[in-house]
Symmetry: C2
Subunit: 125 residues, 2 copies
């Protein structure tokens, strides 16, 4: 049976408060505001459970360890922005057309990922 622990709630809160994909370390730091004793192993255990339960969804970017976002965010097709100054990742709404015209003959497309790099709002200011 699934228990409602303070650390799990703190982790869920971290996601809703951030509104963007978070990595294990980021989650740890954010959730420690609520539960200072929180341990990284617990973060990993909780992440794994929440992914299994379809509450979170992994976000993989080139050359980086996975971040996670709420499944509800993942449900609608979207892509990601990664800030080169603060390394934070943000969700982007929408998509582009014409991807399939990049395909060579004989290739079949079943999905795609787009990552935009640059400076986020906060780092820009």
């Amino acid at each position: 049976m699934q228990r409602q622990t303070t650390q799990r709630v703190a982790i869920e809160n971290a996601f809703t408060a951030a509104g963007r994909p978070l990595g294990p370390q980021e989650i740890l730091e954010a959730a420690r505001d609520e539960v200072p004793s929180l341990n990284l192993a617990t973060v990993y255990r909780t992440l794994k459970r929440m992914v299994d339960d379809r509450i979170l969804h992994p976000v993989e970017l080139p050359g980086e360890s996975p971040r996670y976002e709420l499944q509800e965010a993942a449900d609608k097709h979207h892509h990601h922005f990664r800030c080169r100054k603060c390394d934070a990742v943000f969700d982007l709404n929408g998509c582009v057309n014409g991807l399939s015209k990049l395909l060579p003959a004989g290739f079949q497309m079943s999905g795609h990922d787009i990552v935009i790099y640059g400076d986020c709002r906060a780092c820009n200011a």
Copy 2:
């Protein structure tokens, strides 16, 4: 000083023969056709040197360890295709428009990556 060893030549040949980005293990297997004694450590050493010398360029895809492609290929802006059946990666020519319209207000774009997933020509056949 830089020496022209048979293993280094074999590795270079693997790239020109493949015409697509290769990972260390793929390189090892391909180059062993020419030099059966080739060792993975040598592949890594050679890759590092060739990247330093701007002969090769690393290709990072979400959730995978880096592959490498000839710098000449990397010089013109392009993206990548990854086959879900054989895991091979291919270069794609061209790009798309309208990426910047995905940006939220206050965000500044300085680059982007696109990866298309699907079945490659060979796996399709």
